[in-house]
C-alpha cells in the first residue's frame, strides 16, 4: 500500500491535524491570550473547508472499509461549509460565555471530533466503520449539549441526549450483528450479494434502521429532539438539526439505495408510513411552540419527513433531489438558527413573543429570518421551493400522488407556523421590541453565507445538474 493512497482520507487527516494543533495551542498559548484560539480555529477550519473542495479520486482504502467518491466528497464539502458557518455564528457566544470559563478549545475539539465521526460514517464501506463513525459523531455532541454547565437545562439536555443516543446505538449495533449473522460479512459489497428477505435479516434491518432514524429524528424516534434542542447551546442545537441530521439522512440514503436495495419492497412501504407520521406529527406539534428552539426542533422533524419522500424512490432522481434538498435545508436552517443565536447572544431572549416588532428595530436580521423561513416553507424564489418541488417531483415520478398530496397539505400547515414568526417580526409592533444592535463581523459573515446559499442554490440551476451528475454513480 502506497503512502500516497492515504490522501483519499484528506478530509479526515486534515481535520485530525487541526484537532491536534488546537490541543497544542491550548497548551502553548498563555491564558490572557486565550481568545486568539477562536480566531485560530476559525482560520484553520476555513482553510480546511476551502482546500476540501479540491478534487479527490474515487477509490477505497483498507480493503473497502473506507471509500470515497465524488458524491461523498461533495457532501463532505457541504458539511464543512455548514460547520464553518455555524462556528462563525457561534463565535460571539463562545467569546462571551465560554472563553471566560477556559473552555473555548474544548468546544472546537469536541465539535471537530464529532465532524470527523460524520466523515467516517458517510465514507464507511462496512458496518464496523459505519458504527465507529456514528459513535464518534454522537458522543462528543452529548458533552457539547451539556456545555453550558451553569445552566441546569443544558446538563439535562446532555443527559437526555446521551441516554437516548446510547440506546439507539445499542439497538443499531444489535441490528448489525443480526445482519452479520445472516450474511457472514460486514462489508457492504458482500452483503449486497447475499442479502435476502429472511426474518432474521429483516429484524436486523429494522433495529439498525431505528438507530439512524433516531439521528434523523423520525417519528417515533423524535422524542428527544425538542428537549435537547431547547436545553443545548444554540450552536449545538443547530449542529444537531443541520449537520448531524443532514449527514445521517445522506448515509441512510446511500445504504438504502445500495446495500439494502434488495429489501426495497420492505422499506418502501415502511418509509411511506414514517414519512406521513413524521410530517404530520412534526408540523402539528410545531403549531403551538413558543420557544424558538423548540419551534425549530419540530419544524426540522417535519422537514425530515419531506426527505423521506425522496428516499422512497430508490432512483437516481431520488438521490439527486434528496442531496439537493438536504443541501438547501442546511443553509436555510443555519440561517434561522443563526438569527436566533444572534438575538439570544445579545439579549438572552428566545421566545417568539420577544420577536415582536423586530423588523422596525433590526430590519436586516428580520429579513434574513424571513428568507430562511420562506426557504423552509418552500416559497419561491428562494431555494427551499426548488428543493421541495423537486423532491415531490421525485416522489410523483414513482406514482406516489397521494403521498405528494399529503406532503403539500403539510407544506400548507407548516406555512402557518412559519408565518407566525413573520407575523411577530413584521406585523406586530410589540410592547418592548428588542432594541437595535450591531452584530459582530463573524456573525455577519455567518449569516451572509447562508443568505447567499438560500438565494443562489435555487435559482442557479447548474448546481442541481452537478448534483444529478454526481448521483449517477450511486445507483
Amino acid at each position: 500500500m502506497e503512502l500516497s493512497s492515504f490522501l483519499l482520507m484528506r478530509h479526515e487527516i486534515s481535520l485530525l491535524a487541526i484537532i491536534l494543533l488546537l490541543i497544542i495551542a491550548e497548551i502553548a498559548i498563555p491564558d490572557h491570550k486565550k481568545s486568539s484560539i477562536l480566531h485560530l480555529a476559525l482560520l484553520f477550519f476555513g482553510i480546511h473547508t476551502a482546500v476540501g473542495f479540491l478534487p479527490l479520486a474515487e477509490s477505497f482504502l483498507f480493503g473497502g472499509m473506507f471509500r470515497s467518491n465524488d458524491m461523498i466528497h461533495f457532501f463532505k464539502g457541504i458539511l464543512n461549509i455548514g460547520v464553518f458557518t455555524l462556528l462563525l455564528q457561534s463565535a460571539e457566544w463562545l467569546e462571551k460565555n465560554m472563553l471566560s470559563q477556559e473552555r473555548g478549545t474544548e468546544f472546537f475539539i469536541l465539535l471537530f471530533a464529532s465532524l470527523l465521526g460524520m466523515y467516517f460514517m458517510i465514507s464507511a464501506g462496512d458496518f464496523l466503520m459505519f458504527f465507529i463513525g456514528m459513535e464518534l459523531s454522537t458522543l462528543p455532541v452529548a458533552a457539547l449539549a451539556a456545555f453550558e454547565i451553569i445552566k441546569r437545562e443544558s446538563g439535562e439536555a446532555g443527559i437526555k441526549f446521551i441516554l437516548s443516543a446510547a440506546l439507539a446505538s445499542g439497538v443499531s449495533l444489535f441490528g448489525i450483528t443480526m445482519l452479520y449473522a445472516t450474511n457472514g460479512s460486514i462489508y457492504f459489497e458482500d452483503i449486497l450479494i447475499t442479502l435476502t428477505a429472511e426474518n432474521l435479516t429483516l429484524l436486523g434491518f429494522l433495529l439498525f434502521f431505528a438507530g439512524l432514524a433516531f439521528k434523523i429524528s423520525l417519528v417515533p424516534f423524535h422524542f428527544w429532539t425538542a428537549d435537547v434542542y431547547e436545553g443545548a447551546p444554540i450552536g449545538i442545537a443547530s449542529y444537531l438539526s443541520v449537520i448531524s441530521k443532514g449527514a445521517a439522512a445522506f448515509i441512510l440514503m446511500i445504504l438504502l439505495f445500495t446495500v439494502l436495495k434488495p429489501l426495497m419492497h420492505i422499506w418502501e412501504p415502511m418509509l411511506y408510513v414514517l414519512a406521513v407520521a413524521t410530517m404530520f406529527i412534526g408540523n402539528i406539534f410545531a403549531l403551538r411552540q413558543e420557544n424558538m428552539k423548540r419551534f425549530l426542533a419540530y419544524s426540522s422533524i417535519a422537514q425530515a419527513g419531506f426527505i423521506l419522500l425522496g428516499l422512497m424512490t430508490g432512483s437516481q432522481l431520488g438521490t439527486a433531489t434528496v442531496v439537493y434538498f438536504v443541501t438547501i435545508y442546511i443553509f436555510s436552517n443555519l440561517a434561522a438558527f443563526g438569527v436566533v443565536q444572534a438575538i439570544s447572544t445579545q439579549t438572552g431572549k428566545e421566545n417568539m413573543k420577544d420577536y415582536e416588532g423586530l423588523y422596525r428595530t433590526n430590519p436586516k436580521l428580520s429579513l434574513v429570518m424571513m428568507l430562511a423561513l420562506f426557504s423552509l416553507a418552500g416559497i419561491p424564489p428562494v431555494a427551499g421551493f426548488f428543493g421541495k418541488f423537486f423532491l415531490f417531483t421525485a416522489a410523483a415520478s414513482e406514482g406516489y400522488y397521494l403521498l405528494v398530496f399529503l406532503a403539500v397539505v403539510n407544506v400548507t400547515i407548516s406555512l402557518y407556523y412559519y408565518l407566525l414568526v413573520i407575523r411577530a417580526m413584521f406585523v406586530r409592533k410589540g410592547e418592548a421590541p428588542i432594541p437595535f444592535f450591531e452584530n459582530k463581523l463573524y456573525m455577519k459573515l455567518g449569516l451572509l453565507i447562508t443568505v447567499i446559499g438560500i438565494v443562489v442554490l435555487g435559482l442557479y440551476s447548474p448546481l442541481y445538474d452537478y448534483i444529478y451528475q454526481l448521483s449517477a454513480g450511486l445507483n
Binding site: V404, F405, V409, T412, Y416, L419, F426, V427
Partner: protein, 495 residues
Amino acid sequence: MDILTLFIVVPVLVILALVFTKDLKQARIISMIGGLVQLGMAINLLFAYFRERAVNDVVMLFTRDLVWFEQFNIHYNIGVDGISVSLILLTSIIVLAGVFISWKMEELPKEFFISLIVLATGVYGFFISIDLFTMFVFYEIAVIPMYLLIGIWGSGNKEYSAMKLTLMLMGASAVLMVGILGIYFNSNADGGALTFNILEIAKVNIPFEAQKLFFPLTFIGFAILGALFPFHTWSPDGHASAPTAVSMLHAGVLMKLGGYGIFRVAMFLLPAGALEWSWFFIILSATGVIYGAFAALRQTDLKYINAYASVSHLGMVTFALLMLNKTAWNGAILQSLSHGFMTALFFALIGMIYGRTHTRDITKLGGLLKVIPFISVVYVIAGMALLGLPGFSGFVAEMNIFMGAFQQDSMFYRVATIVSISAIVVTAVYVLRVVGIMLMGPVKNEAYNNLERTTWYEKTGIMLLLIPIVGIGIAPLWISNLIMESLQPFIQGVL
C-alpha cells in the same frame, strides 16, 4: 433584452431602486415612474402585438426559450397571445392607479411599494409564462406578498384575514402543484419527453383516467384564487382588511390569475377532464354567482359589498369558461378585464370615501353626492358599469357570456344559465341600494360638510381606470378581436 422579459426586469429594477429610497416622497416618485414605464411597455406591447400578429399566425408571439433545469426539462419559456396581452395591459394600468391611490402611504412606505411591485412582478411573470413550472413559481411570488401587505398595512381584523387569505391561497397552490406534477408525468403519453411546456403538452393526448384525476385538482387550485364558491371565504375578509391599493390589485389583477390559469392550464391541457367534470363546476359557479349577489345585498360594509360582488362576477367567468364555446369564452375574458377595471375603481373610491369619513358602513353615510361630488359621480358610473348598462364594459362582457351560454341547449345548461342571469337583477338592486343610501338624500353627519376635495393624484388614479371601462364599452370590437383570434387554438384543442 426581449420585449417580454422586460416585464420582469423593469419591476425588479424598480424594487432595487426602492431599496435605496429614504422616505415616502422618493418611494412614491420612483414607483410612479416605474408604473408609467410599465404602462408604456404594455401599450407598446399591444401595438407590437398587432403588427406582429398581422404577419405571423403562430399561437404565441415574442417567444423566448431558455433552458433552466435541464434534468426536468424546465425552461424559462415565455410568449404572449391576445389574452395575455390584454391582461398585461390591465395589470399595468391597475398597478399605476394603485401607486397613485397610495400617494399618502405614511407607514413604512418603502416596504409597501416594494411588496406591491413584487406582487405585480409575479402577475406579469404568470401571464407571460408558457412553462408550467415557471408559471407556478410566479404564481406563488404573486401570492405571498399579500400576507405582508394585509398584515402590516391592513385595517380591522387584519392578522386573521391575512393569515386566512395566505393559507387558503397557498393551500390552493399546493393542490395545484399535485395537478401540475400529474400533468407533467403524463406529458410523455405519446412517447415524447416529459415536459412542462404548455404548447407541447396540449398536443399530447393525456390518458382519460389521468385527466379525470388531475383536472379537478388543477381546476380547484386555480379556482380558489378566482374565488369559486365555496372556496371564496378568504376573499371578503381579505378585501375588507387590505389597504386600498392592495384590494385594487388583488381583486383587479390577482384574482384574474385564477380564471386565466383555469383556461390556459386546466381546460387547455385536460380537455377530456373538463368535459367530464364541467357539470359539477358549473353548479358551483352558478351558485357562486347567485350567492355572491345575494350576500352583497345584505352587507352594509362597502368593502364587503364589493368583495361579494367580485365573487358573483368572477363566478360568471368560470361559468362562462365551462360553457365551452367561443362566444362564452370571449365573454369570460372580457368579463375578467372589465371586472378588473371596475372592481379596482370601486375599491379606489371606497378607499377615498373611507379616508375622508373614516367609516365604510353605508348606514352611517348619506348625501355624499352633495359633499364629494366627483367621487360620488364616478361611483354612480362604476355602479352602472357593474350592473351591465350598455355603453360600459360590463354589458359587453355579460352579453357575450349569456349569448354563449344559451348556445348550449340541454336542460341542465339552460337552468344554470337562467339562474346566473337572474343575478343581474340582484346586482342592480345592490348597486342602486348603495347609491340610494350612501350618495342620495340629506347629509347625515354634520362633519361631512367640509370633507377634503379630491386631489390630483386621486383623480389621475380614477381616470386611469374609468377610461378603459368606457373605452371597452363603446368600442368593444378591437379588444374582442384581439381575444377572439387567440381563442382559435383553444377551440381546436378543447372542443
